[in-house]
Amino acid sequence: MDFPDMLAASIHDIKNSLSLISSNLTAMLAHPDNRFAEPQQISLIQHEVQRVNNTLIQLLNLYKLGKDALRFEILEHNVEEFFAEVVANSTPVCRALGIHLTYCCDPDLNGYFDSEMVRSILENTIGNAQRYARSQILLRADRQADYLVLYVEDDGDGFPPELLQLSQDVEGSISASRISGRTRLGLLFAQKIARLHQAGQRSGYIRLHNACTLPGGCFQLWLP
């Protein structure tokens, strides 16, 4: 049994522990008898639990991708229904952090993608945005030149210049850049998963911008 296999085998236990931590925190916060001097601390723990979970999933999927064992399934999805679930799963942490998480898209907009992988990308991006947003995170989607584009925007200070320069050769520059480990892993994962989405000659990619409709960072996932 090599290390990645051990990691995979432990996932079940780790996830159970994370579920326990997370739901007990929620229950602690909700209980009327409890008083916390710094409720913010609990929100921060919740936020970190979710990030550990996201990182774990991404690590495991990158490992499988490397072994050519990732089961990838592109199906047609209604984007609004998909967004509703992503937002539902991130709402408690956002609420605790005082951030307003919303989505907006044409209810008839459908697209082809692997919902499990794209969900992981969006949840991770929301997790990052939670650190930088002042009060708002917005999920958006539209169709641009035969691509379905999913946006995650916030009203923070935006991405630093070294991240904005990644745009072209994303994978190479992500590896070479001096961005922190977790952000780097998240971007690498997003880029690899985006590229697995193919239709004819076109394949998916990611873009980072600032100030699209909200003043802060704007992560874009382009899917053919």
Partner: protein, 537 residues
């Protein structure tokens, strides 16, 4: 948190006590009050036996005993879940591993831990909405009334809903089940004209397989595997196609490759065991049957044929004593299964023969013959083949070929069965002559049936009835012949009015088909016509 889930009943299944209470408090935050908990698979099943649940939240990983998939299989197989019930599989990592196991039954949805109450609520509301939307379709499917299901789907599709592609996928699948291959083909082709979609390409391959265009089917399944080497369903269909093309060794290799990717599929392990054993690759057969027996231990799909297969593989590998032990255990492990006696007897006949116990082998063979006789109309083609293999192993080629001839006559249009027959003929060393005889028998039935159908179409009912009646007497277990004999009588009565004698004859034919293949898609239509005619008397 406001929700409309408060009137629903929930069953939470998890082996971990803390997780059960986490789930319970999560449900309580959604104002759910009617919550039952189960700590393992058996407890979950016994709760479902006693009470109807609107929602079952079941963890995949339940420790020793049944896993979540086996709970789902048993609940669906025994119809413990209502049409409107929702089964959600809760998984630690991702749903992918289970999808890869090529499971017979799929849950309504998967949820990956940890998830929030908000996500559960959003998901459940969507699932209830979807169920309500498909109520009529599901009701028709349960009654195996496929044309009604397709009519309902057409109605839903005409409203161009958001989940249009889901409905089209469902419709195409029902079309295949109901034998409307060209209609299914048109749906898949239209989707593929717009975009490359895996399920549509796979569906197209299945249609070609059913239309016996094996070369096209093979090309499609191979291409799919080239694009995605983890698409296990394509391996299963490729193997079926290779069997139909009589490339038995290749079919075995294909299944073996799929099993290397995911060893958890029970049905696939059985198929590999059977094919490998007939191909003479007995070591691989032993491994596959061993895994199948272990996988099936807690499964409602467990069957005496698995241990029989293991015993036959063991004895083929010279491990006669262990084989004898396994064969003798079949009765203990399946005390109530109706096919226990038959499978134990065929396995014992072969094992004892290999042990040099000719007398014991003969005795077991007699017991198998008796069990086959006792089963009457419920003899499946698989059981006939099993008997043929036992005859062949004991050197009784005469009885083997006689049984094969009647089995082929009774199942002349079952392609999977005919492929296995060819494989058995080759591995049992039957002469080319007896293979030619079988082929002639099969083609003779095809000709008779086609002639009968043509006579019906031309309105010459009496001639059709005379022809098909004789054929049905010769081949009482042939579903197609019996169904067409029933149809000829029905068509005649629809034009000239029903008679009691003819109605009775139709009942006999329908009864035979019902016994041989209760799931046959053509039954619903013929039975409905029979009832309409009976009312006119």
């Amino acid at each position: 948190m406001a929700s409309n889930l408060s009137d629903k009943t929930f069953l939470v299944v998890d082996d971990f006590a803390d997780m059960r209470s986490v789930m319970r408090s999560l449900l309580r935050s959604l104002e759910v009050t009617r919550i039952d908990l189960a700590a393992n698979g058996n407890e979950a099943i016994s709760r479902m036996e006693k009470k109807h649940y609107d929602v079952v939240l079941c963890d995949y990983n339940l420790g020793p005993g049944k896993d979540g998939q086996q709970v789902l299989e048993e609940a669906r197989h025994r119809q413990l879940l209502g049409l409107d019930s929702i089964f959600i599989m809760v998984t630690a990592e991702s749903a992918r591993e289970m999808v890869m196991a090529a499971v017979e039954y799929t849950p309504d949805s998967y949820l990956t831990k940890p998830f929030t109450a908000e996500l559960l609520q959003t998901r459940l509301e969507k699932l209830f909405e979807k169920k309500a939307h498909l109520t009529e379709v599901n009701r028709a499917m349960l009654a195996k009334n496929y044309s009604a299901a397709i009519d309902e789907l057409n109605l839903l599709i005409s409203e161009t809903p958001k989940n249009l592609s889901e409905l089209l996928k469902l419709k195409a699948e029902i079309c295949i089940t109901a034998g409307h291959y060209d209609e299914a083909l048109a749906i898949y082709q239209k989707i593929l004209d717009e975009r490359e979609v895996t399920w549509a390409r796979l569906g197209l391959g299945k249609v070609f397989f059913h239309k016996k265009q094996y070369t096209e089917a093979e090309r499609i399944f191979r291409e799919l595997i080239n694009v995605d080497r983890n698409l296990l369903e394509a391996y299963d269909w490729l193997a079926k196609t290779q069997m139909a093309l009589e490339r038995f060794q290749e079919a075995e290799k294909t299944l073996d490759a799929a099993i290397k990717i995911s060893p958890r599929g029970l049905k696939r392990q059985c198929a590999l065991g059977e094919i490998a054993l007939a191909n003479g690759n007995t070591e691989r057969a032993e491994v596959a049957f061993n895994k199948a027996v272990n996988l099936a231990k807690h499964s409602v799909l467990n069957h005496p044929s698995l241990m029989a297969g293991l015993a036959k593989s063991l004895t083929a590998n010279g491990k006669h004593d262990l084989a004898l032990e396994i064969a003798n255990k079949i009765e203990r492990d399946f005390p109530h299964h109706e096919q226990t006696g038959f499978y134990q007897a065929t396995a014992l006949a072969i094992v004892k023969n290999n042990l040099g116990d000719k007398q014991g082998a003969e005795k077991a063979l007699k017991a198998a013959e008796q069990a086959l006789k006792d089963a009457g109309g419920a003899v499946s083609p698989t059981m006939s083949l099993e008997m043929v293999k036992a005859y062949a192993a004991l050197g009784d080629h005469q009885k083997a070929t006689a049984l094969l001839e009647s089995a082929v006559a009774n199942n002349h249009d079952d392609e999977n069965f005919l492929a296995s027959v060819k494989q058995v003929c080759q591995s049992a060393g039957f002469t080319a002559e007896s293979e030619a005889v079988l082929k002639e028998i099969q083609q003779e039935v095809v000709r008779t049936n086609n002639k009968g159908v043509r006579l019906i179409q031309m309105g010459q009912y009496d001639a059709a009835i005379a022809l098909l009646r004789k054929a049905a007497e010769d081949m009482p277990a042939n579903k197609t012949i019996n169904l067409n004999a029933a149809k000829a009588l029905i068509m005649k009565m629809e034009q000239h009015g029903p008679t009691e004698a003819e109605l009775q004859q139709v009942r006999v034919y329908i009864d035979r088909v019902q016994r041989a293949a209760p799931d046959d898609w053509r039954l619903a239509e013929v039975s409905a016509s029979l009832q309409r005619l009976a009312h006119r008397i």
